[in-house]
Amino acid sequence: MSLSRREFLVAGVATAATALAPGLRLVELAQARAPEEAVTKLQRWGLLIDVAQCADGCNACVTACHEENGVTSHNRPATDAQWIRKVTIKDRQTGYVQSLPLMCQHCEEPPCVDVCPTGASFKRADGIVLVDKHTCIGCRYCMMACPYKARSFIHEDTKDQKPHAPRGKGTVESCTLCVHKVDRGDGTTACAEACKSVGHQAILFGNLNDANSEIRKRLASRPSTQLRPDLNLNTGVRYTGL
């Protein structure tokens, strides 16, 4: 039996990926999607946010997100786009204050998708909820439907967009879960990276469908919650320590 060079190399990688101890792989299978392959339901991307680790007054995730995606401010807070924001909550009885980042929760049953009249608001097979700006007519029904106020409307002409994050006047936008990074196989998001770099490690990105992923292990080992669990949206973003 003669093997071509290609077959030999592929077989070698396959052996390396499976021969090691279970759960320990040389090549991360979940992230090895080729550019020409479509996303599948094998992955469901999500975030786990540890509110106990999130520092009050720290804005690193917001800054990093807006820098990564070219979301610029016009110094008009009422209409500026906002993909992620810090929310401070206070227990009125005890005065206990907590701070947490809030962004698109990437619901399994997204209300924004339900109400969109053009199909512009959609959920990818891997669970990322996005706006197809090619078909968005800017009606803003999705903004009204979202229980988390996660979406923004672009009121003004945009310039100097990032090549991976097109954004234009008259369309709605929100957190894309750094879909360009996900597709590239980075295995993280701008907010999670920033949080880690300032030493808080409050945001963890991962595949909720992979039983061996860090995010699944953490979710299985400690209590966590969705925001507004009563709505049964099965959010991809979960909170712990809340």
Partner: protein, 151 residues
């Protein structure tokens, strides 16, 4: 009446014959063609032959846009990003502007282009540093398409 019709026909034939003859001699067209600045620095062939690109570039971009948006397929070849990266003017770094690759021709043809309402018209600063090489990505995959599969 008959004579008149024949006369008109004869005049028409003569004029068409004349205009055809003059068109053959004339080198510059009646309306000046746009000067399209092809980026000479790259000195590479475009992703498809020029004739195909002239006629069908919009179909390729449209097809690619839906695949990328909805299925996360990010092949470089027919992507808008690839167009811009290669065709951006080395001076302005853009495909727009008076002599920009896209705008010069679209202005001439009076065809509105919506791409750059959202997409950036500027080339990426670090070309090549953005993605891992294709070959490595392919090697890392376990499911290998048949030999005749997509490149």
């Amino acid at each position: 009446m008959k004579l008149f019709t024949v006369g008109v026909l004869a005049v028409m034939l003569m004029t068409t014959g004349l205009s055809a003859a003059t068109a053959g001699e004339k080198k510059s067209p009646r309306v000046s063609l746009p000067t399209v600045n092809v980026n000479k620095d790259k000195a590479e062939q475009c992703v498809e032959p020029t004739e195909v690109m002239r006629r069908d570039h919009m179909k390729m971009i449209l097809h690619q846009r839906d695949e990328t948006m909805h299925q996360g397929i990010r092949t470089v070849k027919h992507s808008l990003k690839n167009c811009v990266n290669c065709h951006a003017d080395p001076k302005t770094g853009s495909v727009l502007g008076h002599n920009g690759f896209c705008e010069s021709c679209h202005t001439y043809a009076a065809v509105t282009m919506d791409c750059f309402g959202c997409h950036t018209d500027k080339a990426e600063k670090k070309i090549g540093a953005v993605r891992k090489p294709d070959t490595l990505e392919k090697l890392m995959r376990l499911s290998v398409p048949a030999a005749g599969g997509k490149p």
